[in-house]
Protein backbone atom coordinates (compact mmCIF):
# COMPACT_ATOMS: atom_id res chain seq x y z
CA UNK A 1 0.00 0.00 0.00
CA UNK A 2 1.22 3.50 -0.85
CA UNK A 3 2.48 5.57 2.06
CA UNK A 4 0.53 8.81 2.31
CA UNK A 5 2.69 10.25 5.03
CA UNK A 6 6.28 9.39 5.83
CA UNK A 7 8.04 11.07 8.72
CA UNK A 8 11.71 10.27 9.36
CA UNK A 9 13.71 11.22 12.40
CA UNK A 10 11.64 14.36 12.95
CA UNK A 11 12.92 16.74 15.62
CA UNK A 12 11.46 19.94 16.94
CA UNK A 13 13.03 22.18 19.52
CA UNK A 14 11.14 25.26 20.72
CA UNK A 15 13.31 28.24 21.65
CA UNK A 16 17.04 28.04 22.11
CA UNK A 17 19.78 28.08 24.73
CA UNK A 18 18.71 27.45 28.31
CA UNK A 19 15.04 27.92 27.42
CA UNK A 20 15.08 25.29 24.68
CA UNK A 21 12.30 22.68 24.88
CA UNK A 22 12.87 19.50 22.91
CA UNK A 23 9.26 18.71 22.04
CA UNK A 24 10.03 16.01 19.43
CA UNK A 25 13.15 13.90 19.68
CA UNK A 26 13.30 11.93 16.46
CA UNK A 27 9.93 10.63 15.35
CA UNK A 28 9.56 7.95 12.67
CA UNK A 29 6.07 7.41 11.37
CA UNK A 30 4.49 5.98 8.23
CA UNK A 31 0.80 6.22 7.47
CA UNK A 32 -0.85 4.52 4.50
CA UNK A 33 -3.99 5.44 2.60
CA UNK A 34 -7.07 4.42 4.52
CA UNK A 35 -5.10 4.01 7.76
CA UNK A 36 -6.77 5.08 10.95
CA UNK A 37 -4.06 6.09 13.35
CA UNK A 38 -4.44 7.10 16.98
CA UNK A 39 -1.88 9.26 18.70
CA UNK A 40 -1.97 8.95 22.46
CA UNK A 41 0.13 10.46 25.18
CA UNK A 42 0.10 12.57 28.30
CA UNK A 43 -0.18 16.30 28.20
CA UNK A 44 3.01 17.95 26.99
CA UNK A 45 4.25 14.82 25.23
CA UNK A 46 4.37 16.55 21.85
CA UNK A 47 1.18 15.39 20.12
CA UNK A 48 0.06 18.81 18.92
CA UNK A 49 3.63 19.66 17.97
CA UNK A 50 3.81 16.58 15.77
CA UNK A 51 0.54 17.47 14.04
CA UNK A 52 1.65 21.05 13.50
CA UNK A 53 4.90 19.85 11.93
CA UNK A 54 3.16 17.30 9.72
CA UNK A 55 0.66 19.93 8.61
CA UNK A 56 3.54 22.26 7.70
CA UNK A 57 2.49 24.96 10.14
CA UNK A 58 5.56 24.58 12.30
CA UNK A 59 9.01 24.30 10.83
CA UNK A 60 10.74 21.19 12.22
CA UNK A 61 14.28 21.52 13.52
CA UNK A 62 15.47 18.43 11.66
CA UNK A 63 14.21 15.38 9.84
CA UNK A 64 12.20 14.62 6.75
CA UNK A 65 8.48 14.79 5.86
CA UNK A 66 6.98 13.37 2.68
CA UNK A 67 3.33 13.63 1.78
CA UNK A 68 1.71 11.73 -1.06
CA UNK A 69 5.09 10.84 -2.49
CA UNK A 70 6.34 14.43 -2.47
CA UNK A 71 9.18 15.47 -0.14
CA UNK A 72 8.04 18.64 1.61
CA UNK A 73 10.70 18.98 4.26
CA UNK A 74 14.21 17.65 4.30
CA UNK A 75 16.26 19.63 6.81
CA UNK A 76 14.53 22.70 5.41
CA UNK A 77 11.44 23.47 3.31
CA UNK A 78 11.57 22.04 -0.17
CA UNK A 79 10.42 24.20 -3.01
CA UNK A 80 6.67 23.67 -2.65
CA UNK A 81 3.70 25.94 -2.07
CA UNK A 82 2.90 24.97 1.50
CA UNK A 83 -0.51 26.65 1.50
CA UNK A 84 -1.59 24.81 -1.61
CA UNK A 85 -0.46 21.49 -0.13
CA UNK A 86 -2.41 22.24 3.03
CA UNK A 87 -5.45 23.34 1.06
CA UNK A 88 -5.53 20.33 -1.25
CA UNK A 89 -4.02 17.42 0.66
CA UNK A 90 -4.70 17.97 4.34
CA UNK A 91 -7.92 18.33 6.25
CA UNK A 92 -8.07 19.65 9.83
CA UNK A 93 -10.32 19.03 12.76
CA UNK A 94 -9.49 20.40 16.16
CA UNK A 95 -10.97 20.35 19.59
CA UNK A 96 -13.47 23.19 19.40
CA UNK A 97 -14.46 26.28 17.51
CA UNK A 98 -13.40 24.84 14.20
CA UNK A 99 -15.99 26.78 12.29
CA UNK A 100 -15.99 30.35 11.09
CA UNK A 101 -18.76 31.93 13.15
CA UNK A 102 -20.10 34.27 10.48
CA UNK A 103 -20.55 31.52 7.88
CA UNK A 104 -23.39 28.98 7.87
CA UNK A 105 -22.60 25.26 8.06
CA UNK A 106 -22.93 25.05 4.31
CA UNK A 107 -20.69 28.05 3.71
CA UNK A 108 -18.08 26.68 6.09
CA UNK A 109 -17.86 23.55 3.98
CA UNK A 110 -17.83 25.54 0.74
CA UNK A 111 -14.98 27.79 1.93
CA UNK A 112 -12.04 25.43 1.20
CA UNK A 113 -13.60 24.49 -2.14
CA UNK A 114 -13.97 28.18 -2.93
CA UNK A 115 -10.32 28.74 -2.07
CA UNK A 116 -9.37 25.86 -4.36
CA UNK A 117 -11.23 27.54 -7.18
CA UNK A 118 -13.99 24.95 -7.47
CA UNK A 119 -16.97 26.32 -9.38
CA UNK A 120 -19.84 27.50 -7.19
CA UNK A 121 -22.52 25.03 -8.28
CA UNK A 122 -20.12 22.12 -7.99
CA UNK A 123 -18.97 23.33 -4.56
CA UNK A 124 -22.55 23.54 -3.32
CA UNK A 125 -23.30 20.09 -4.63
CA UNK A 126 -20.25 18.59 -2.96
CA UNK A 127 -20.88 20.42 0.31
CA UNK A 128 -24.48 19.21 0.45
CA UNK A 129 -23.31 15.67 -0.20
CA UNK A 130 -20.77 15.86 2.64
CA UNK A 131 -23.26 17.35 5.07
CA UNK A 132 -25.63 14.52 4.24
CA UNK A 133 -22.83 12.03 4.75
CA UNK A 134 -22.21 13.58 8.16
CA UNK A 135 -25.96 13.40 8.84
CA UNK A 136 -26.16 17.12 9.47
CA UNK A 137 -27.77 18.40 6.26
CA UNK A 138 -30.81 19.73 8.13
CA UNK A 139 -28.51 22.28 9.77
CA UNK A 140 -27.00 23.45 6.47
CA UNK A 141 -28.19 27.03 6.81
CA UNK A 142 -27.49 27.43 10.51
CA UNK A 143 -24.74 29.63 11.88
CA UNK A 144 -22.34 27.70 14.16
CA UNK A 145 -23.58 29.52 17.25
CA UNK A 146 -26.96 27.82 16.81
CA UNK A 147 -25.54 24.30 16.63
CA UNK A 148 -24.50 21.94 19.41
CA UNK A 149 -20.83 21.03 19.89
CA UNK A 150 -21.33 17.61 18.29
CA UNK A 151 -23.11 19.11 15.30
CA UNK A 152 -20.32 21.66 14.92
CA UNK A 153 -17.71 18.88 14.95
CA UNK A 154 -19.59 16.99 12.25
CA UNK A 155 -19.67 20.11 10.09
CA UNK A 156 -15.94 20.49 10.81
CA UNK A 157 -15.33 16.96 9.55
CA UNK A 158 -17.38 17.71 6.44
CA UNK A 159 -15.20 20.78 5.87
CA UNK A 160 -11.99 18.79 6.43
CA UNK A 161 -13.16 16.32 3.79
CA UNK A 162 -14.34 18.94 1.30
CA UNK A 163 -11.19 18.98 -0.77
CA UNK A 164 -10.91 15.16 -0.76
CA UNK A 165 -7.63 15.32 1.19
CA UNK A 166 -5.12 12.49 1.38
CA UNK A 167 -4.65 13.04 5.09
CA UNK A 168 -6.97 14.21 7.84
CA UNK A 169 -5.41 15.49 11.04
CA UNK A 170 -7.62 15.64 14.11
CA UNK A 171 -6.38 17.14 17.37
CA UNK A 172 -8.64 15.90 20.16
CA UNK A 173 -11.80 16.21 18.04
CA UNK A 174 -13.90 14.74 20.83
CA UNK A 175 -12.25 16.67 23.65
CA UNK A 176 -15.13 19.09 24.05
CA UNK A 177 -17.90 16.53 23.61
CA UNK A 178 -19.66 14.15 25.96
CA UNK A 179 -18.94 10.48 25.37
CA UNK A 180 -22.05 9.69 23.30
CA UNK A 181 -21.44 12.52 20.88
CA UNK A 182 -17.70 11.80 21.01
CA UNK A 183 -18.34 8.20 19.95
CA UNK A 184 -20.52 9.38 17.10
CA UNK A 185 -17.75 11.68 15.81
CA UNK A 186 -15.21 8.87 16.12
CA UNK A 187 -17.50 6.54 14.17
CA UNK A 188 -17.66 9.09 11.37
CA UNK A 189 -13.87 9.44 11.33
CA UNK A 190 -13.57 5.68 11.10
CA UNK A 191 -16.02 5.48 8.25
CA UNK A 192 -14.23 8.11 6.17
CA UNK A 193 -10.98 6.19 6.55
CA UNK A 194 -12.74 3.01 5.44
CA UNK A 195 -14.93 4.40 2.68
CA UNK A 196 -12.87 7.23 1.24
CA UNK A 197 -9.43 5.71 1.73
CA UNK A 198 -8.32 8.82 3.55
CA UNK A 199 -5.55 8.45 6.07
CA UNK A 200 -6.64 9.79 9.46
CA UNK A 201 -4.37 10.69 12.35
CA UNK A 202 -6.37 11.34 15.46
CA UNK A 203 -4.91 12.72 18.69
CA UNK A 204 -6.81 11.79 21.79
CA UNK A 205 -6.53 11.47 25.53
CA UNK A 206 -9.29 8.99 25.79
CA UNK A 207 -8.38 5.28 25.55
CA UNK A 208 -12.02 4.29 25.10
CA UNK A 209 -12.23 6.14 21.83
CA UNK A 210 -9.53 4.20 20.00
CA UNK A 211 -11.33 0.94 19.57
CA UNK A 212 -11.08 -0.27 15.99
CA UNK A 213 -8.10 1.89 15.01
CA UNK A 214 -5.48 0.33 12.74
CA UNK A 215 -2.50 1.48 14.73
CA UNK A 216 -1.88 3.30 17.94
CA UNK A 217 1.19 5.39 18.65
CA UNK A 218 1.98 6.34 22.21
CA UNK A 219 4.01 9.47 22.59
CA UNK A 220 6.03 10.29 25.68
CA UNK A 221 8.52 13.12 26.07
CA UNK A 222 8.75 13.63 22.35
CA UNK A 223 9.35 9.98 21.48
CA UNK A 224 7.15 7.18 20.23
CA UNK A 225 7.12 4.52 22.90
CA UNK A 226 5.27 1.69 21.34
CA UNK A 227 3.16 1.01 18.35
CA UNK A 228 0.55 -1.63 17.96
Amino acid sequence: MAAVLKVENLKKTYGSGRLAVEALKGIDLTVNAGDLVALLGPSGSGKTTLLLCVSLILEPTAGKISLDGETLFDHGWQNVDIRQVRLQKIGFIFQARNLIPFLTAMENVILPLDLMGVERAEAVRRARELLEYMEISERADYLPALMSGGEQQRVAIARALAGSPKLVLADEPTGALDSVRGMKVMELLKSIAREKQTAVICVTHDERMIEGFDSIFRLKDGQIMLDT
Partner: protein
Protein backbone atom coordinates in the same frame (compact mmCIF):
# COMPACT_ATOMS: atom_id res chain seq x y z
CA UNK B 1 -18.11 33.82 -1.57
CA UNK B 2 -17.89 37.29 -0.11
CA UNK B 3 -16.55 36.91 3.41
CA UNK B 4 -16.60 40.63 4.26
CA UNK B 5 -20.33 40.96 3.63
CA UNK B 6 -21.11 37.72 5.46
CA UNK B 7 -19.23 38.91 8.52
CA UNK B 8 -21.00 42.28 8.45
CA UNK B 9 -24.36 40.58 7.96
CA UNK B 10 -23.87 38.86 11.29
CA UNK B 11 -23.39 42.17 13.14
CA UNK B 12 -25.61 44.25 10.90
CA UNK B 13 -27.07 46.42 13.66
CA UNK B 14 -23.70 47.35 15.04
CA UNK B 15 -22.31 47.97 11.60
CA UNK B 16 -25.18 50.33 10.77
CA UNK B 17 -24.78 52.20 14.05
CA UNK B 18 -21.08 52.65 13.30
CA UNK B 19 -21.83 53.79 9.78
CA UNK B 20 -24.29 56.41 11.03
CA UNK B 21 -21.77 57.63 13.61
CA UNK B 22 -18.93 57.98 11.14
CA UNK B 23 -21.46 59.30 8.63
CA UNK B 24 -22.20 62.23 10.94
CA UNK B 25 -18.48 62.90 11.10
CA UNK B 26 -18.33 62.87 7.31
CA UNK B 27 -21.27 65.28 7.25
CA UNK B 28 -19.10 67.65 9.27
CA UNK B 29 -16.10 67.12 6.99
CA UNK B 30 -18.26 67.90 3.96
CA UNK B 31 -19.89 70.89 5.67
CA UNK B 32 -16.39 72.15 6.47
CA UNK B 33 -15.58 72.00 2.76
CA UNK B 34 -18.75 73.97 2.10
CA UNK B 35 -18.03 76.48 4.85
CA UNK B 36 -14.57 77.03 3.42
CA UNK B 37 -15.85 77.48 -0.13
CA UNK B 38 -18.72 79.64 1.10
CA UNK B 39 -16.33 81.81 3.09
CA UNK B 40 -14.09 82.41 0.08
CA UNK B 41 -17.07 82.87 -2.23
CA UNK B 42 -18.68 85.48 0.01
CA UNK B 43 -15.34 87.10 0.72
CA UNK B 44 -14.82 87.74 -2.99
CA UNK B 45 -18.46 88.14 -3.94
CA UNK B 46 -18.55 91.96 -3.89
CA UNK B 47 -15.39 92.18 -6.00
CA UNK B 48 -16.73 89.67 -8.49
CA UNK B 49 -20.07 91.40 -8.80
CA UNK B 50 -18.70 94.92 -9.06
CA UNK B 51 -16.10 93.71 -11.57
CA UNK B 52 -14.70 96.92 -13.12
CA UNK B 53 -11.59 96.80 -15.31
CA UNK B 54 -9.67 98.89 -12.77
CA UNK B 55 -10.10 99.88 -9.14
CA UNK B 56 -8.56 103.28 -8.35
CA UNK B 57 -8.00 103.90 -4.64
CA UNK B 58 -6.10 106.09 -2.21
CA UNK B 59 -2.36 105.91 -2.72
CA UNK B 60 -0.56 103.06 -0.93
CA UNK B 61 -3.85 101.53 0.09
CA UNK B 62 -5.09 98.06 -0.79
CA UNK B 63 -8.67 99.29 -0.78
CA UNK B 64 -11.49 99.66 -0.93
CA UNK B 65 -12.55 96.26 0.45
CA UNK B 66 -9.45 94.74 2.00
CA UNK B 67 -8.56 98.10 3.53
CA UNK B 68 -10.16 101.55 4.01
CA UNK B 69 -9.49 104.08 1.26
CA UNK B 70 -10.86 107.62 1.06
CA UNK B 71 -10.78 109.91 -1.95
CA UNK B 72 -12.45 113.22 -2.74
CA UNK B 73 -15.40 112.56 -5.03
CA UNK B 74 -14.19 114.82 -7.82
CA UNK B 75 -11.20 112.52 -8.47
CA UNK B 76 -13.30 110.53 -10.86
CA UNK B 77 -13.19 113.43 -13.30
CA UNK B 78 -9.39 113.30 -13.27
CA UNK B 79 -9.40 109.55 -13.79
CA UNK B 80 -11.87 109.90 -16.66
CA UNK B 81 -9.41 112.24 -18.37
CA UNK B 82 -6.67 109.58 -18.56
CA UNK B 83 -6.30 108.11 -22.08
CA UNK B 84 -7.77 104.62 -22.40
CA UNK B 85 -10.47 105.24 -19.78
CA UNK B 86 -13.97 105.00 -21.19
CA UNK B 87 -15.89 105.49 -17.98
CA UNK B 88 -14.76 106.43 -14.47
CA UNK B 89 -17.34 106.19 -11.80
CA UNK B 90 -17.34 106.94 -8.05
CA UNK B 91 -17.95 104.09 -5.66
CA UNK B 92 -18.61 103.90 -1.94
CA UNK B 93 -19.35 101.06 0.43
CA UNK B 94 -19.95 100.96 4.13
CA UNK B 95 -21.10 98.29 6.55
CA UNK B 96 -23.87 99.53 8.85
CA UNK B 97 -26.26 98.24 11.42
CA UNK B 98 -29.58 100.01 11.05
CA UNK B 99 -33.22 99.51 11.81
CA UNK B 100 -34.81 98.23 8.61
CA UNK B 101 -37.99 96.24 7.96
CA UNK B 102 -38.88 96.07 11.62
CA UNK B 103 -35.55 94.86 12.86
CA UNK B 104 -32.04 96.03 13.51
CA UNK B 105 -30.01 94.51 10.70
CA UNK B 106 -26.42 94.37 9.56
CA UNK B 107 -25.91 95.14 5.91
CA UNK B 108 -23.54 96.95 3.58
CA UNK B 109 -24.57 100.10 1.74
CA UNK B 110 -23.17 100.48 -1.75
CA UNK B 111 -23.32 103.91 -3.41
CA UNK B 112 -22.64 104.14 -7.12
CA UNK B 113 -23.25 106.33 -10.10
CA UNK B 114 -26.68 105.15 -11.19
CA UNK B 115 -26.28 106.74 -14.62
CA UNK B 116 -23.08 104.93 -15.67
CA UNK B 117 -24.27 101.86 -13.78
CA UNK B 118 -20.66 100.97 -12.89
CA UNK B 119 -20.51 99.30 -9.48
CA UNK B 120 -24.25 98.67 -9.41
CA UNK B 121 -26.07 95.36 -9.10
CA UNK B 122 -25.34 92.95 -11.91
CA UNK B 123 -28.41 90.78 -12.04
CA UNK B 124 -31.81 91.62 -10.60
CA UNK B 125 -34.14 88.94 -9.33
CA UNK B 126 -37.08 91.32 -9.53
CA UNK B 127 -37.89 94.95 -10.37
CA UNK B 128 -35.58 97.37 -12.15
CA UNK B 129 -32.27 99.14 -11.51
CA UNK B 130 -32.16 102.56 -9.84
CA UNK B 131 -32.99 105.23 -12.46
CA UNK B 132 -33.43 108.36 -10.35
CA UNK B 133 -30.76 110.31 -8.57
CA UNK B 134 -32.55 110.02 -5.22
CA UNK B 135 -34.68 107.91 -2.92
CA UNK B 136 -34.59 104.63 -4.82
CA UNK B 137 -32.95 101.45 -3.59
CA UNK B 138 -32.10 97.95 -4.79
CA UNK B 139 -32.01 95.50 -1.88
CA UNK B 140 -30.73 91.99 -1.31
CA UNK B 141 -33.53 89.53 -0.63
CA UNK B 142 -32.15 88.72 2.82
CA UNK B 143 -33.02 92.23 3.98
CA UNK B 144 -36.68 91.13 3.92
CA UNK B 145 -37.78 94.23 2.00
CA UNK B 146 -40.49 93.79 -0.57
CA UNK B 147 -40.57 95.27 -4.03
CA UNK B 148 -42.24 98.69 -3.92
CA UNK B 149 -41.89 98.92 -0.14
CA UNK B 150 -40.93 102.26 1.41
CA UNK B 151 -38.48 102.24 4.25
CA UNK B 152 -36.79 104.85 6.36
CA UNK B 153 -33.02 105.08 6.47
CA UNK B 154 -31.27 108.07 8.06
CA UNK B 155 -33.10 111.27 7.20
CA UNK B 156 -35.14 110.03 4.24
CA UNK B 157 -37.56 107.44 3.00
CA UNK B 158 -36.51 105.18 0.14
CA UNK B 159 -38.47 102.98 -2.25
CA UNK B 160 -37.35 99.47 -3.14
CA UNK B 161 -37.36 99.34 -6.94
CA UNK B 162 -35.35 96.13 -7.40
CA UNK B 163 -34.30 92.99 -5.55
CA UNK B 164 -31.09 90.97 -5.94
CA UNK B 165 -30.24 87.46 -4.90
CA UNK B 166 -26.54 87.47 -5.61
CA UNK B 167 -23.75 89.28 -3.88
CA UNK B 168 -22.95 89.86 -0.25
CA UNK B 169 -20.39 91.84 1.65
CA UNK B 170 -17.18 89.95 2.50
CA UNK B 171 -18.75 89.12 5.86
CA UNK B 172 -21.72 87.53 4.16
CA UNK B 173 -24.09 90.42 4.97
CA UNK B 174 -26.68 91.52 2.39
CA UNK B 175 -26.11 94.56 0.16
CA UNK B 176 -28.27 97.65 -0.20
CA UNK B 177 -27.64 99.71 -3.31
CA UNK B 178 -28.34 103.46 -3.28
CA UNK B 179 -27.44 106.30 -5.61
CA UNK B 180 -24.07 107.81 -4.71
CA UNK B 181 -25.38 111.03 -3.09
CA UNK B 182 -28.00 109.11 -1.10
CA UNK B 183 -25.39 106.66 0.11
CA UNK B 184 -22.99 109.46 1.05
CA UNK B 185 -25.72 111.11 3.05
CA UNK B 186 -26.70 107.95 4.90
CA UNK B 187 -23.10 107.14 5.62
CA UNK B 188 -21.59 110.53 6.44
CA UNK B 189 -24.40 112.81 7.57
CA UNK B 190 -25.00 112.80 11.31
CA UNK B 191 -28.55 113.29 12.49
CA UNK B 192 -29.91 116.76 13.14
CA UNK B 193 -29.34 116.72 16.87
CA UNK B 194 -25.72 115.80 16.31
CA UNK B 195 -25.38 118.60 13.72
CA UNK B 196 -26.73 121.14 16.20
CA UNK B 197 -24.40 119.92 18.95
CA UNK B 198 -21.43 120.05 16.59
CA UNK B 199 -22.26 123.63 15.55
CA UNK B 200 -22.62 124.67 19.16
CA UNK B 201 -19.20 123.22 20.03
CA UNK B 202 -17.53 125.06 17.13
CA UNK B 203 -19.46 128.24 17.92
CA UNK B 204 -18.31 128.18 21.54
CA UNK B 205 -14.70 127.62 20.55
CA UNK B 206 -14.86 130.55 18.09
CA UNK B 207 -16.61 133.13 20.25
CA UNK B 208 -13.91 134.18 22.68
CA UNK B 209 -12.41 137.55 23.62
CA UNK B 210 -9.96 138.58 20.92
CA UNK B 211 -11.17 135.88 18.47
CA UNK B 212 -14.58 136.16 16.72
CA UNK B 213 -17.62 138.18 17.58
CA UNK B 214 -20.91 136.18 17.68
CA UNK B 215 -21.92 137.70 14.30
CA UNK B 216 -18.65 136.72 12.66
CA UNK B 217 -18.87 133.22 14.16
CA UNK B 218 -22.41 132.75 12.74
CA UNK B 219 -21.11 133.74 9.30
CA UNK B 220 -18.27 131.29 9.57
CA UNK B 221 -20.46 128.47 10.80
CA UNK B 222 -22.82 128.83 7.84
CA UNK B 223 -19.87 127.93 5.57
CA UNK B 224 -18.88 124.99 7.73
CA UNK B 225 -21.28 122.53 6.09
CA UNK B 226 -20.38 118.88 6.62
CA UNK B 227 -18.55 117.51 3.59
CA UNK B 228 -20.21 114.33 2.32
CA UNK B 229 -18.40 114.37 -1.02
CA UNK B 230 -16.06 111.54 -0.22
CA UNK B 231 -15.80 108.18 -1.94
CA UNK B 232 -13.83 104.96 -1.44
CA UNK B 233 -12.80 104.17 -4.98
CA UNK B 234 -13.14 105.16 -8.60
CA UNK B 235 -14.22 102.30 -10.85
CA UNK B 236 -12.89 102.33 -14.40
CA UNK B 237 -14.29 100.78 -17.55
CA UNK B 238 -11.55 100.75 -20.20
CA UNK B 239 -12.02 101.92 -23.76
CA UNK B 240 -11.95 99.07 -26.30
CA UNK B 241 -8.37 98.08 -27.05
CA UNK B 242 -6.87 99.91 -24.06
CA UNK B 243 -4.21 98.02 -22.07
CA UNK B 244 -5.16 97.71 -18.42
CA UNK B 245 -1.57 97.83 -17.14
CA UNK B 246 -0.72 100.89 -19.25
CA UNK B 247 -3.77 102.82 -18.12
CA UNK B 248 -3.06 101.76 -14.56
CA UNK B 249 0.51 103.09 -14.85
CA UNK B 250 -0.74 106.44 -16.19
CA UNK B 251 -3.19 106.80 -13.30
CA UNK B 252 -0.47 105.92 -10.79
CA UNK B 253 2.06 108.31 -12.31
CA UNK B 254 -0.17 111.30 -13.02
CA UNK B 255 -2.72 111.16 -10.25
CA UNK B 256 -0.65 109.59 -7.45
CA UNK B 257 -3.26 106.94 -6.76
CA UNK B 258 -3.12 103.16 -6.41
CA UNK B 259 -4.70 101.05 -9.12
CA UNK B 260 -5.68 97.39 -9.21
CA UNK B 261 -7.30 95.14 -11.76
CA UNK B 262 -10.10 92.90 -10.53
CA UNK B 263 -7.85 89.80 -10.43
CA UNK B 264 -5.33 91.82 -8.39
CA UNK B 265 -8.11 92.96 -6.10
CA UNK B 266 -9.13 89.31 -5.60
CA UNK B 267 -5.53 88.42 -4.87
CA UNK B 268 -5.27 91.17 -2.25
CA UNK B 269 -8.41 89.93 -0.50
CA UNK B 270 -7.37 86.32 -0.72
CA UNK B 271 -3.96 86.95 0.75
CA UNK B 272 -5.14 89.69 3.07
CA UNK B 273 -8.38 89.82 4.92
CA UNK B 274 -9.46 86.27 4.02
CA UNK B 275 -6.10 84.67 4.54
CA UNK B 276 -6.00 83.62 8.17
CA UNK B 277 -9.61 82.55 8.65
CA UNK B 278 -9.26 80.66 5.37
CA UNK B 279 -6.12 78.84 6.56
CA UNK B 280 -7.83 78.08 9.84
CA UNK B 281 -10.81 76.52 8.09
CA UNK B 282 -8.50 74.62 5.76
CA UNK B 283 -6.52 73.20 8.65
CA UNK B 284 -9.71 72.20 10.39
CA UNK B 285 -10.83 70.43 7.23
CA UNK B 286 -7.65 68.37 7.13
CA UNK B 287 -7.80 67.56 10.84
CA UNK B 288 -11.38 66.36 10.56
CA UNK B 289 -10.49 64.09 7.68
CA UNK B 290 -7.63 62.65 9.70
CA UNK B 291 -9.95 62.08 12.66
CA UNK B 292 -12.32 60.21 10.34
CA UNK B 293 -9.55 58.00 9.04
CA UNK B 294 -8.25 57.29 12.55
CA UNK B 295 -11.72 56.30 13.74
CA UNK B 296 -12.23 54.07 10.72
CA UNK B 297 -8.82 52.51 11.39
CA UNK B 298 -9.83 51.81 14.97
CA UNK B 299 -13.16 50.29 13.96
CA UNK B 300 -11.54 48.13 11.28
CA UNK B 301 -8.87 47.04 13.74
CA UNK B 302 -11.52 46.05 16.27
CA UNK B 303 -13.48 44.18 13.60
CA UNK B 304 -10.29 42.33 12.65
CA UNK B 305 -9.35 41.47 16.22
CA UNK B 306 -12.83 40.08 16.80
CA UNK B 307 -12.34 37.54 14.07
CA UNK B 308 -8.67 36.84 14.57
CA UNK B 309 -9.45 33.23 15.40
CA UNK B 310 -11.47 32.85 12.22
CA UNK B 311 -8.53 34.29 10.35
CA UNK B 312 -6.25 31.72 12.00
CA UNK B 313 -8.66 28.96 10.96
CA UNK B 314 -8.67 30.25 7.41
CA UNK B 315 -4.89 30.28 7.38
CA UNK B 316 -4.81 26.76 8.78
CA UNK B 317 -7.09 25.55 6.01
CA UNK B 318 -4.71 27.14 3.55
CA UNK B 319 -6.24 30.51 2.60
CA UNK B 320 -3.79 32.62 0.66
CA UNK B 321 -2.98 36.02 2.21
CA UNK B 322 -4.87 37.84 -0.48
CA UNK B 323 -8.16 36.35 0.72
CA UNK B 324 -7.52 37.67 4.21
CA UNK B 325 -6.30 41.07 2.98
CA UNK B 326 -9.37 41.35 0.80
CA UNK B 327 -11.68 40.53 3.70
CA UNK B 328 -10.28 43.31 5.86
CA UNK B 329 -9.80 45.89 3.14
CA UNK B 330 -13.25 45.31 1.75
CA UNK B 331 -14.79 45.92 5.16
CA UNK B 332 -12.77 49.09 5.55
CA UNK B 333 -13.79 50.40 2.15
CA UNK B 334 -17.40 49.41 2.73
CA UNK B 335 -17.41 51.20 6.06
CA UNK B 336 -15.84 54.31 4.51
CA UNK B 337 -18.10 54.37 1.49
CA UNK B 338 -21.32 53.82 3.43
CA UNK B 339 -20.39 56.42 6.04
CA UNK B 340 -19.48 58.89 3.33
CA UNK B 341 -22.81 58.32 1.62
CA UNK B 342 -24.70 58.96 4.87
CA UNK B 343 -22.66 62.13 5.45
CA UNK B 344 -23.29 63.28 1.90
CA UNK B 345 -27.04 62.77 2.19
CA UNK B 346 -27.17 64.60 5.51
CA UNK B 347 -25.25 67.67 4.41
CA UNK B 348 -26.87 67.97 0.99
CA UNK B 349 -30.25 68.08 2.68
CA UNK B 350 -29.38 70.53 5.42
CA UNK B 351 -26.80 72.96 4.07
CA UNK B 352 -29.39 75.60 3.21
CA UNK B 353 -30.31 75.85 6.91
CA UNK B 354 -26.84 77.04 7.97
CA UNK B 355 -26.51 80.69 8.99
CA UNK B 356 -23.81 81.42 6.43
CA UNK B 357 -23.32 80.13 2.94
CA UNK B 358 -22.27 76.46 2.77
CA UNK B 359 -21.14 76.05 -0.82
CA UNK B 360 -20.96 72.37 -1.76
CA UNK B 361 -19.15 71.58 -4.99
CA UNK B 362 -18.97 68.23 -6.80
CA UNK B 363 -15.20 68.69 -6.98
CA UNK B 364 -14.87 68.96 -3.19
CA UNK B 365 -17.27 66.07 -2.68
CA UNK B 366 -15.28 63.83 -5.01
CA UNK B 367 -11.91 64.85 -3.59
CA UNK B 368 -13.15 64.08 -0.09
CA UNK B 369 -14.49 60.71 -1.22
CA UNK B 370 -11.16 59.93 -2.88
CA UNK B 371 -9.17 60.94 0.20
CA UNK B 372 -11.57 59.03 2.44
CA UNK B 373 -11.19 55.86 0.39
CA UNK B 374 -7.41 56.18 0.39
CA UNK B 375 -7.70 56.81 4.13
CA UNK B 376 -9.92 53.74 4.46
CA UNK B 377 -7.29 51.63 2.76
CA UNK B 378 -4.56 53.06 4.98
CA UNK B 379 -6.85 52.50 7.97
CA UNK B 380 -7.13 48.81 7.10
CA UNK B 381 -3.34 48.35 7.06
CA UNK B 382 -3.07 48.04 10.82
CA UNK B 383 -5.70 45.30 10.85
CA UNK B 384 -4.12 43.56 7.86
CA UNK B 385 -0.70 43.64 9.49
CA UNK B 386 -2.15 42.10 12.64
CA UNK B 387 -4.02 39.44 10.66
CA UNK B 388 -0.99 38.43 8.60
CA UNK B 389 1.07 38.12 11.75
CA UNK B 390 -1.44 35.77 13.36
CA UNK B 391 -0.05 32.22 13.51
CA UNK B 392 -2.39 29.58 12.07
CA UNK B 393 -1.65 27.50 15.17
CA UNK B 394 -3.84 29.96 17.10
CA UNK B 395 -6.83 28.08 15.68
CA UNK B 396 -5.83 25.03 17.71
CA UNK B 397 -5.90 26.94 20.97
CA UNK B 398 -8.72 25.88 23.23
CA UNK B 399 -10.03 29.32 24.23
Amino acid sequence: MDLAIRDIRQHLGRFLATVVGIGLLFAIVLSMNGIYRGFVFEGLSLINITDPDLWVVERYRGGPINEQSILPEFFHYSVAAIPGVEKASPFILYPVERYVAGKSRRFTIIGYDVFTGLGGPKKLAAGRPITQAHYEAVAHENLSLRLGENFRLGLHTYTVVGLTKEGTSPDGEPLLYLSLPDAQEVIFLPDNEEVRNQRLRVYQSLVRPGFFSPQEAEKYLSRDAIDTHRINAVLVRLAPGAQAQEVARSIRDYLYLSVFTTPEQIDIMFKGRLNRPRMQLYLFRILLLIVCVVIIAMVVFTLTMEKIRSIAVMKLIGSPNRVIIRLIMEQSILLTACSYLIGWIIIHNTHQLWPRLVLLTPGDDLTTLGLALVGGIIASLLGIWKALKTPPALALGEQ
